[in-house]
Symmetry: C2
Subunit: 387 residues, 2 copies
Amino acid sequence: MSELSFKLEKPGNARAGILVTPHATVETPCFMPVGSQATVKTLTPDELKDLGYKLILANNYHLYLRPGTDVIASYGGIHKFMGWSGALLTDSGGYQVFSLSPLRKMSDEGVTFRSHIDGSEHFFSPELAIKYQEIFGADIIMALDECPPVEASRGAIESAVARTQAWALRCKSAKTRADQALFPIVQGGLHPDLRRRSAEGLIETGFPGYAIGGLAIGEAKDQTVEITAATTGVLPSDKPRYLMGVGSPEDIVRGVSAGIDMFDSALPTRVARNGALFTRRGRIDIANARYEGDKTPIETGCACYTCLNFSAGYVHHLFRAKELLAYRLATLHNLYFMRKLMRDIRQSILDERFDGFARNFLSDYTPTDEAVRLAQKRQWLQDRNQP
Amino acid sequence: MSELSFKLEKPGNARAGILVTPHATVETPCFMPVGSQATVKTLTPDELKDLGYKLILANNYHLYLRPGTDVIASYGGIHKFMGWSGALLTDSGGYQVFSLSPLRKMSDEGVTFRSHIDGSEHFFSPELAIKYQEIFGADIIMALDECPPVEASRGAIESAVARTQAWALRCKSAKTRADQALFPIVQGGLHPDLRRRSAEGLIETGFPGYAIGGLAIGEAKDQTVEITAATTGVLPSDKPRYLMGVGSPEDIVRGVSAGIDMFDSALPTRVARNGALFTRRGRIDIANARYEGDKTPIETGCACYTCLNFSAGYVHHLFRAKELLAYRLATLHNLYFMRKLMRDIRQSILDERFDGFARNFLSDYTPTDEAVRLAQKRQWLQDRNQP
């Protein structure tokens, strides 16, 4: 079984391609729902499949801590553990050690950290990150990286670039399974020259795909796009490019413009559980009193399970009453929206009308106010860091 | 549209019948899942239908308070509001006023109570309980009753019987819709003579079915069965008999022995969300460490969606990680178990082998320890009473 093949159907700044993994053939650009703990919150694998998803994320950090590598090894991997027959990508856990662990100590050897669950001490090296991900058995696995906070000094980011490069090499050497594709992660903060240095080093080592990390972690959105474009400008055009942790509908449209093929983010599912539902005009807050008794669906014309079967007023009621069905119906709606968005983006690229599509989409879609968004994001990152 | 027809296919102590309501034809004995707030927690109406349920409960008290009668009236009733095409039964709210409201004042006129949501003051009379239930539009509606606590004095229970009788008469007079069947509620605590008095009074007034209330609220299980049997002995054999708030698998088997046709209880769904899953041997605690990595289903041979698709070890993981999918998979399992139990009970009655079935079931099924159960139940009732 070959690790991965990627074929560009339509090259260009915004690209359309086909990614063939052992478990699924995936059309790109694609959005990958996040199932860190071997479950995309509230949904069954059948529902994800019905939504049209063929590639989802799980997380090395979360699954290493719970249920642990032995349990998942005994199932023969995450696919069988969670009952998912499509393709999987596991993140190495580098970002989660940075964002979730209450204490961590980095060295060239690896990173010592405490579990956010019970405070126990653990150690990840590039070799161990690969070992665990080989046990987990995802189609695409990620190199261990160092992801410094957005406000880190240039010196700190420079050293993270060097360490991430050295670790990517060690990951590649440690890898033994031929049916998994290893992607390294470009770092470099908001410095275009460091991004270039990071990308060039990794390209020289050679990988079947490249991720861009250390973005969408608290910087302004314009900076995310600018640094993304600067990085894809360096990356080889015949390999898939994955922008980690992005994102919102508007960020994804801009990410595609910047040459990205793959996206993942917990945002669509997380905000769904807070009642923030996507429509072509932007997010609505379904818990708002204006939706009480509203007989129309969340979005007229939406063909998701929720909109086909329930009114906005009923979903409003479920949120007000804190009923568990609320979180599920909201998740179904937002993931349907994302899937449809990716299909529409792809078709517009194939039809050579992506620029117009993006312009229309961004002019119709009112994003969350940037100041509010940044404050929320920083609060969220901070809350996650509390033990 | 006639309000209700009930046909006994197999008379006897344990009976099998057919209940025809405007929205569904229901085989009895039946268990009705509880959807107090117009949702059976975690499930869609499609899933309830797939499980084989045709009659579910909603609650007058909960829906009157939120979203309120105006909202549900604007939908034309609960059926359209929640997207449920099967039959519905609404409880009048008498029991919820007793068990949930932080403050209540009874008079012959009705009951003044405070909302457990926001403390606002409200009033239910028998006439208003009917008015609201006519707006809600369930197939079967319940008379307003007075449900005294199990430890109330004989005098208090005697007076509740008298008031419940007077209110049942007023409910019958207030009723205007011909497509809803009104059931009154027999009270009388643990006193067989008061139960007889209550039942005889209601029978004299005449109703299409009779409920037994004020049981399974903290008394010993043997008392529940004894009082149930004493009451069904008085009730007419050609009308459906509904034992309210029961219950567990073992209670339902014993309730059927005592001549009951209809049951409702939040127990199967509530304990599911705590990880207590039904098997033919009794409840298991899926969060227990013994299920870590268990590759077998929750119960071998179970054909529920959860057991067909997931291992006990995966469900264990979801509970440990507090993942929302846990509550849904557990609910699906327990409601499948209840549905299969009712089908098996009914078939054994039709085959004239119910006594053997009940004996075998009760000898295989280890109920939760009685002392533990009573303590949990009292704690739960007490917790619910906190504002």
